[in-house]
Amino acid sequence: MSSFEPKIITFLCNWCSYGAADLAGVSRFQYPPHMRVIRVPCSGRISPKMVLAALRKGADGVWISGCHPGDCHYIEGNYYARRKFTLLKEILEFNGIEPGRLHFSWISSAEGVKFAEVANRVIDEVKQLGPARVFIKKSPEESAA
């Protein structure tokens, strides 16, 4: 398992968490290179189908990060996002996708340290679970067999 290099699709909001990733970088805070960052205008932009798409295509984990409540550039986008995330998390876990594959966080653009910390934590948890197994679209050949 130690050789397992997970792929983690990371959705970062443009205004806070993406800035935090930048800050973590220029400040040389260390975290492993397992994340594939997708910059979105707001955590509220993220639809559950995007998260499912990432998992279906073989992501071992998904991490979504936005501005702290009250700090949203669009005033309230992350409040709606919070409700969507609640439902998404519940339905995925209910269907048997392990809880440790999906992570959410609020990280402001000043929190480079937190960004590295959370990144390490997310990667650790996904690593412990091992490669994604169940919710992956297989090749049509395999699925027909």
Binding site: K137, K138, S139, P140, E141, A144
Partner: protein
């Protein structure tokens, strides 16, 4: 043609013997749902004569099928060249199919073999099958097969017709294919002389038990436009939810959709069941959709089954009266009523 008698106690042993030459296909329970599919080596077909939820069309026309594949990796000599994934199926014995379902499948070459164009996937699968039907002795309330050019004992689409006779099956071996299967299974005891008459009596009893019927003679006489523009459609199609329940359950609905799926450097060209009930079915690339409204789509289904098919092929309507759509329609639409309306004088 011979009639064999097969003791129930030797039935399974016979099937097992035939497994050497044939893959067995039959109805089997999956959870709460009775389906029609290839059987596992230790599995025997359900012979209770129950109506399977979906028709057996999946035997020759699977819900999802890989037609061809192509490599996408740069440098591969076959990059972007589709290669057929057609596999010649091994001989299959389809055990216990309802005669009317077999009739439906026997119509498939009309659509999949035009003479000029042959669909190898369907035709080869169809050709690989030996059709061993089980006569329906207790027809359901939704059965109206006798008025659709077939019936509970229809032998025409079969290689062997099995008739349940208590402790034994009477097997009417109709074709050479059927003889080959019976020999492979080791069924060779000829039935007594009165067997033919016994089958006839049972046939008549079963046909009498079917009380509902449709007629479509006037549909044939009327013009397409007369039927198409009739003013009852608003009412007839109102309840339809435009789901695909009827089309997927139907043994004579063979429409499909071709989709490309890409997976790790390989492209798969797939054929999936499709339904004329969905608006996507007729959506053009331009955005135009000739069957945009639910009414148009529902009308299409009935016109196709009861009028266009009848006109084009002269083999009757594209319905064998199995009754699945009546039982499964969530909105309670009954094809017999629709046919009656279309066939009415007005």
């Amino acid at each position: 043609m011979t009639i064999l008698t097969i003791d129930r106690t030797s039935w399974n042993a016979g099937l097992d013997r035939a497994r050497g030459d044939y893959t067995l296909v039959g109805s089997a329970w999956d959870a709460d749902c009775l389906g029609f599919r290839e059987l596992a080596p230790d599995e025997y077909p359900n012979m209770e004569g129950l109506l399977t939820r979906l028709s057996p069309k999946g035997v020759v026309f699977p819900p999802s099928q890989i037609m061809m594949t192509c490599a996408l990796k740069p440098g591969d000599v076959k990059q972007n060249i589709y290669v057929s994934e057609e596999k010649l199926p091994s001989p299959r014995a389809v055990i216990g199919i309802r005669p009317c379902d077999a009739k439906a499948l026997s119509l498939m070459p009309l659509n999949f073999d035009t003479g000029e164009t042959k669909d190898p996937y369907v035709l080869n699968a169809w050709e690989s099958c030996t059709w061993i039907g089980l006569a329906v002795t207790e027809p359901l309330a939704s059965d109206f097969s006798t008025s659709c050019g077939t019936g509970p004992f229809d032998e025409s689409p079969l290689d062997v017709l099995l008739v349940d006779d208590g402790e034994r099956y009477l097997a009417k071996v109709i074709t050479d294919k059927g003889t080959a299967w019976a020999r492979s299974a080791g069924f060779e005891t000829e039935a007594e002389e009165g067997a033919e008459a016994l089958i006839k009596t049972k046939k008549e009893a079963a046909e009498r038990a079917i009380t509902s019927a449709i007629s479509f003679d006037r549909i044939k006489e009327k013009t397409v436009l007369e039927l198409y523009e009739a003013n009852h459609w608003q009412k007839t199609t109102f309840a339809c939810l435009n789901c695909g329940a009827c089309t997927f359950a139907c043994p004579t609905c063979w429409c499909f959709d071709i989709q490309d799926e890409v997976y790790e450097g390989k492209s798969y060209r797939m054929r999936n069941w499709d339904s004329c009930m969905t608006s996507l079915f007729t959506q053009h690339g331009s955005g135009h959709n000739p069957r945009e409204t639910p009414l148009q789509r529902t009308r299409q289904r009935f016109m196709h089954k009861l009028k266009y098919f009848q006109d084009k092929y002269e083999t009757g309507i594209m319905c064998v009266g199995c009754g699945r759509c009546i039982e499964q329609c969530p909105a309670g639409i009954d094809i017999r009523e629709v046919c009656k309306t279309m066939n009415s004088q007005a």
